[in-house]
Amino acid sequence: MNIKTFVKTINKKVLGLLAVLIPLLLLFFYVALRSGPLAPVPVTVATVERKAISPSLSGIGTVEARYTYRIGSVAAGRVKRITVDVGDMVKAGDVVGEIDLVDLEEHLAAQRSAIKRSEAAVLSAEAQLRDAKAKQVFSASQEKRYALLLQARSASAEVVEAKHQEAEMASASAAAAHAGRNAAQQSLIAAQAEYRGMMKQRDNLRLIAPVDGLVASRDAEAGTTVLAGQAIIELIDPASLWVAVRFDQLQSAGLRAGLAAHVTLRSQAGRAVAGSVLRIEPLADRITEETLAKVLFTLLPAPLPPVGELCEVTVQLPPLPAALVVPNASIHRVDGRLGVWVVDGSGVRFVPVRAGATDRAGNIQILDGLQAGERVVMHSKSLLHARSRITLVNPNKSLL
């Protein structure tokens, strides 16, 4: 082996070794600089622009009937029959059921007898009155006759006085008989009134629908004992369905009557029904910190949703005047101050801002702190800090 071949072999080996070692070292430095804290943070940026946003509010509600009629008995009793079932449509005046007061008929019979007894009492009082009046007339004429006999000296003064006393007594018993007849008449009137009252009660034992409506629930069956005031049949007016909505108070600014709303029923996800805000309730929920509102359907959905179904309500507020807007993903809080990271060469600088209204698409108004056209960091692959170096990534490309 001469020197030349030896050097050639060595060179070949050195080249081979370097061919492995140099890429290895390059890879090492690349890895060391491109990962870990030394690496620049890939970010996407957004440009601050002036545009109008329309905030919207989202709330949760349930379908409710505006008018619910709870029909029940006015007295305690037993249900005799129920003539309608849940889902039936009834007309105003229809009998939907009847209550049995158990002993009402016996009370009525007793009352009828009481009336008859009172009538008899009136007759007897009237007869007594006639008798007393006859006695009064006779004793008055006797008294007159003896007065004339006294003048003719045919009767003694003693007898005349006795006749006078008889006449007085007859007059008094006539007055008493008169009062007795009146009393008998009054007690007849009382007995009759009581009877009429009991008859009315019997009429009220029939449960009558006050309006046209849909039977929503049937809470008692024949034979059930019910209390006075307990609801037996519940009627709703299906045309009066509305949504009772609850808006988180943090996100209820601008909510007012008349705004357009979209109602998405839980059973029909992905399909919104149009509606409008009817009113904001003057009383809010103190515990859940929600504002309550009622939303009317523009057109009732068909088929009708069941009362109580959950729905999601979105209320679109009128557009706000154009203002500087950034995506809400660019807002950060650093050391207690709200702000954005503004792109500054290959680094970033934190600029505190005052934020305003937001919309559902994730735009947020910047009231103070930024100029139109400035570029702010929207997404970043890790948390930024003042010394971060960044590399811009095409916003259409994902950072992942």
Binding site: L17, S35, D248, N328, G336, S382
Partner: protein, 400 residues
């Protein structure tokens, strides 16, 4: 001057490189293990930093909300807001559960945050795609590790949520990805039972004669309604005004609100020293063993490499080479082998770290420490080989 070590390496450079790469893979595993340990600690710290809180207010006598369950009323935050030094206080719920997406499910920590958007306590601190929550219902921001993409629909208990934003490094202390949803739905997810359970609960209540009293018609409904509402949260996240000492404010809240309060430092202690202590120690123990094994293997490789060259060293000795030259040859080879091993190890550890299911944090400090340790071990191992080489009898070159 001819480098003896270089010559020897060039002589069998393929074998030398392969040995270095093999060693590198071992060092890579060790570095990854250190990264896994760092990642665990970093997960715990990320949880604290991402919440954006200065103080955590939890149920009295608990280590909540991460290390222990904690429940407090959701209006406690109002009285906390009234304390001196508190600038923001927000309710938050944490629940680790399986989140359904299509036919599969993902283990995730569902975080219920008060709608209010970026910068509020509890919200993700940065996004890699999409936007922050802008509505108060049915939207979610998920950590990319959950595997969702923008626009996906996920199911959490009885509600479906649309993914509107993606974030990174928002994980629980167990490494589960976080999913941020509005507080109201998170409360339902945590405290509202499933339908079957609700039905059974209603049936039980209805069977209890003291709750279902026939002469008080509305009582049962009222009791059932009160059983299904729940106004609880797991913690209140508090941010302080500048200039207030966390400890002082914490003591005030603890004293007057009768709740448990943790500062950032205390929370770190709970998470790092209590929650992940055992698993971190486990990893740490394994890391120590791995380091010892790596050191032993490096030493053995260099020793056997030297022993394989006994004949050559004997020849060198025979032709009168000084011991210093032989020692430096072995030393240079050992250090070269260590350096290649470290470079390869660092590269492979970095390249395979993203594929770990949990976060692996490769700190530059660890890499430098690793490099120093590898060099020291190489030096120590080479002394063993040098001692053996110097003892070689030149006669072996002839005798064999």
């Amino acid at each position: 001057m001819i480098s003896l070590a270089g010559r020897d390496i060039l002589h069998g450079w393929g074998r030398f490189l392969l040995t270095g790469v093999g060693l590198g893979l071992l060092i890579g595993v060790t570095l990854s293990m250190a990264g896994i340990y760092r990642g665990m600690v970093d997960d715990a710290n990320a949880l604290i930093d991402n919440s954006g809180a200065d103080l955590w207010v939890v149920q009295q006598g608990t280590l909540g909300p991460y290390a222990e369950p904690s429940t407090l009323y959701d209006d406690s935050y109002r009285s906390i807001l009234g304390m001196a030094g508190v600038v923001r206080a927000a309710n938050v719920t944490y629940l680790t559960m399986q989140v359904r997406h299509g036919s599969s499910d993902v283990r995730a920590m569902v975080v219920g945050v008060v709608p209010g958007g970026a910068g509020e306590p509890g919200h993700p601190t940065f996004l890699v795609a999409g936007r922050h929550l802008s509505g108060s219902h049915y939207e979610a921001v998920a950590d990319v590790k959950a595997g969702f993409t923008l626009g996906d629909t996920i199911t959490i208990r009885r509600h479906r949520f649309t993914i509107v934003g993606l974030t990174r490094r928002m994980v629980s202390s167990g490494g589960d990805p976080m999913i941020f949803i509005p507080l109201k739905e998170a409360q339902e997810a945590q405290f509202l039972k499933d339908n079957d359970m609700l039905l059974q609960q209603r049936r039980r209540t209805a069977q209890n004669p003291s709750l279902n009293r026939p002469n008080v018609p509305g009582l049962l409904d009222a009791i059932i309604a009160s059983q299904t509402v729940n106004h609880n949260v797991n913690a209140v996240l508090v941010q302080l005004k500048p200039g207030y000492a966390p400890d002082a404010v914490a003591a005030e809240i603890q004293r007057w609100q009768r709740l448990q309060v943790y500062t950032r430092q205390e929370m770190r202690t709970i998470l790092v020293d209590k929650l992940i202590a055992t698993s971190a120690k486990q990893i740490g123990m394994f890391l120590v063993i791995l380091a010892i094994v790596s050191a032993a293997i490096i030493a053995f490789i260099i020793y056997t490499m030297t022993m394989a060259k006994i004949r050559e060293i004997a020849v060198l000795k025979l032709i009168g080479t000084r011991n210093r030259v032989i020692a430096s040859m072995i030393l240079q080879q050992a250090i070269g082998l260590g350096a290649i091993g470290f470079v390869v190890g660092k590269i492979v550890a970095t390249l395979w770290s993203p594929f770990f299911p949990r976060y692996v944090l490769l700190e530059p400090g660890d890499a430098i420490r690793g490099f120093i340790i590898v060099m020291v071990i190489s030096l120590l191992a080479s002394t063993l080989a040098i001692a053996a080489a110097l003892k070689i009898d030149p006669a072996e070159a002839i005798g064999g």
